[in-house]
């Protein structure tokens, strides 16, 4: 019946999530299509939490009140992360998926996701995509792009369709 050698062991699928609706869409889409019944993948949800210093760094290199702002930004980010993870867990529960690992890691999303792939020996990495155009992509950077090129496993980019035909 099963031809591949490691069919006993489940393959691991990592889904990278952030605060946006695109992520939620990506999780829902993936669960609907891959985990609907008898899932053959083990699921790992990874949230990359930007570190407080990098978030404040955007405001400008020299910011006098940086020291005061950092703890506030940090707790804010922690709250966001908790909310994202909670949301994700809820979606999993709704889909009757119990074999799931949820993790928030601090750092740049690109690296965090690629490292998560290594750590869990994932065979698929799923990311949403903001659908930025070429210009925004160049300025803001694209995590999905980076992952598609650098992750050592297959990458699935789930896009939220903008218009429904």
């Amino acid at each position: 019946m099963a031809t591949s050698s490691d069919s006993e062991k489940k393959q691991v699928m990592v889904i990278g999530i952030d605060d946006s609706e695109h992520s939620v869409y990506a999780i829902n889409w993936t669960l609907d299509h891959f985990f609907a019944k008898n899932p053959s993948f083990k699921l790992v949800l990874v949230h990359a939490r930007p570190s407080a210093t990098s978030a404040v760094g955007f405001a400008g290199p020299v910011y006098a009140g940086a020291a005061e702002v950092l703890p506030i930004v940090d707790s804010d980010l922690k709250k966001i992360a908790a909310r994202v993870l909670e949301n994700a867990k809820q979606i999993c529960i709704k889909n009757n998926i119990t074999d799931v690992v949820v993790e928030a890691v601090e750092g740049d999303p690109r690296n965090v996701l690629c490292e998560a792939v290594e750590k869990y020996h994932a065979s698929v990495l799923v990311v949403g995509s903001h659908g930025y155009g070429a210009l925004k992509r160049a300025v803001l950077g694209s995590v999905s792009d980076y992952c598609a090129h650098h992750a050592h496993c297959s990458v699935m980019i789930v896009k939220k369709p903008k218009t429904k035909h």
Binding site: H33, A36, N38, F41, N96, A134, A148
Partner: protein, 195 residues
């Protein structure tokens, strides 16, 4: 074809039969990578769907259970003009050469597609193939849009950034421009170390 592919296991659990049938398209060319992608897709993606395909289920518009679309893009044969000779004389290949090149290309396409169809048949997954002409990038994206596929699967050579700029990358273009979720299957380098 034999009845009910895969296993006899009737999976009735889960959230009440909420399985989504997925229209999957796999882009193939002559490279081994795309066949690797197809194989990966057949093993991992379509086996969850294929077991639900009952023999008497009608295929309405290609959406019914465990169905895969294979798309192969034939590059357009340019009427190449070869400059030869120091005087800049040009050589137009005679039409008989064009004809035979076209024919060879068609034969190659057919063999690629039939090999892919064979792979699908081995796994007892229904497959439908489409051969299109033109620029691979655009044609794949167009096919995705027209057929409203749920997932596009492609292989990727894993070229570095620089090579990618020069040689271009079909998977890259499709990742950005295709209207559907895309799964890029990479060649497995460390297949044995994966535990």
């Amino acid at each position: 074809m034999e009845a009910s592919g895969g296993g006899d296991v009737q999976v009735s659990g889960g959230a009440g039969e909420r399985r989504m049938k997925m229209k999957v398209m796999v882009a193939i060319d002559e490279s081994e990578l795309s066949f690797h992608a197809l194989k990966w897709a057949l093993d991992n993606v379509l086996n969850t769907m294929a077991t639900t395909a009952t023999p008497d289920e009608n295929i309405e518009g290609g959406g019914g259970g465990g169905m895969v679309f294979l798309v192969h893009i034939e590059p357009v044969f340019h009427h190449a003009v070869y400059p030869i000779g120091s005087a800049g004389a040009v050589y137009y290949p005679p039409s008989v050469v064009e004809g035979s090149v076209k024919k060879a290309q068609q034969e190659k396409s057919v063999s690629i597609v039939s090999r892919a169809l064979h792979m699908c048949k081995d796994k007892q997954i229904k497959a439908q193939s489409v051969i299109l002409n033109g620029d691979p990038r655009e044609m794949i994206c167009q096919a995705v849009e027209q057929m409203q596929v749920d997932l596009l699967i492609m292989g990727s050579r894993g070229l570095g950034k620089i090579k990618r700029t020069f040689l271009g990358s079909v998977s890259d273009y499709c990742a950005h421009h295709a209207k559907a979720p895309i799964l890029i299957v990479k060649p497995q380098e460390e297949d044995h170390k994966k535990k």
